[in-house]
Symmetry: C2
Subunit: 154 residues, 2 copies
Amino acid sequence: MTEVPWLDEGEQQAWRALMTMQDDLAEFLDRQIRNRDGLSKADYEVLAHLSEAPGGRLRSFRLGELLRWEKSRLSQHLGRMENRGLVIRERSLADQRGADVTISRRGTDLITAAAPRHVADVRAAFFDHLTAAELQTITTIAGKVKEGLAKLQP
Amino acid sequence: MTEVPWLDEGEQQAWRALMTMQDDLAEFLDRQIRNRDGLSKADYEVLAHLSEAPGGRLRSFRLGELLRWEKSRLSQHLGRMENRGLVIRERSLADQRGADVTISRRGTDLITAAAPRHVADVRAAFFDHLTAAELQTITTIAGKVKEGLAKLQP
DNA sequence: TACCGTTGGTTGACGTGTGAACCAGTTGCG
DNA sequence: CGCAACTGGTTCACACGTCAACCAACGGTA
């Protein structure tokens, strides 16, 4: 470990800082949603996508694309959310293989209450600390990294 | 959802970019370690800390501090790692409550092989795309966000 | 010295994520 | 038309994370 070519001082510092920022941020936001709104981050994202879709309804595989989730994960999670009355699943009429997922009244109420509070948290935890230039830099970096990763995994 | 005060265009773009960069990066690095070295990210981090400690040995609670893990998580994970022969646990002589965790020969071999490849991945996926100024900005932002979070949760 | 609060760790129950196997419906092609 | 390949989903087994309850050892104070 100690004898391998490692990152230099500045790189190591930046990497650690980024990783812990990421952890802390995710943990804070998850906990807020969970404790205040009774939703996991996963629940929140499912409901957010559904509530933005026309009629609060999406084909299951389309939802999976938007969330970038494995299909088994989506299936398991929707099953749990259905049991809790947050969404309704029914076989699609257009394609008998598929399923339509619809947000329930209860799901709508929950996401409606949770969303503005979540946005406020994101502001308080992140954007309030950033200058416009820093914001721009973040976007630039993220774009480059994402592009690079796409090339690394063909 | 659509009628609540939301983030502005630039903020939304930055936030999405940061979140997906984070997801992609984590997923790429995890998958590399898992497929190539047969270790989860959690395994890797435990072994990395142990291998850097004198004698490859740490008190369990100290390891927990370094990893910032809940104690139950640490206990469960060390149990699994012990079953796989990666670490050895024994009651501490100094304090009969505590446990000493020692990296095994097998654990040492694995982390020794995995570490340089992981560093190379981090470079390829992240640092190779960044200027010195961007690196500096990252560190600055992460510091400010971390500080802000500390104030938000007293 | 005896007791009580604290500390270090383990356990059990449960929610969550992944990969592989599987299944039914659909599509393409001879 | 008939059948193989593909698609959309589910299920199973397992790894992982969190919380709450628990337990034994330690440490300070009456």
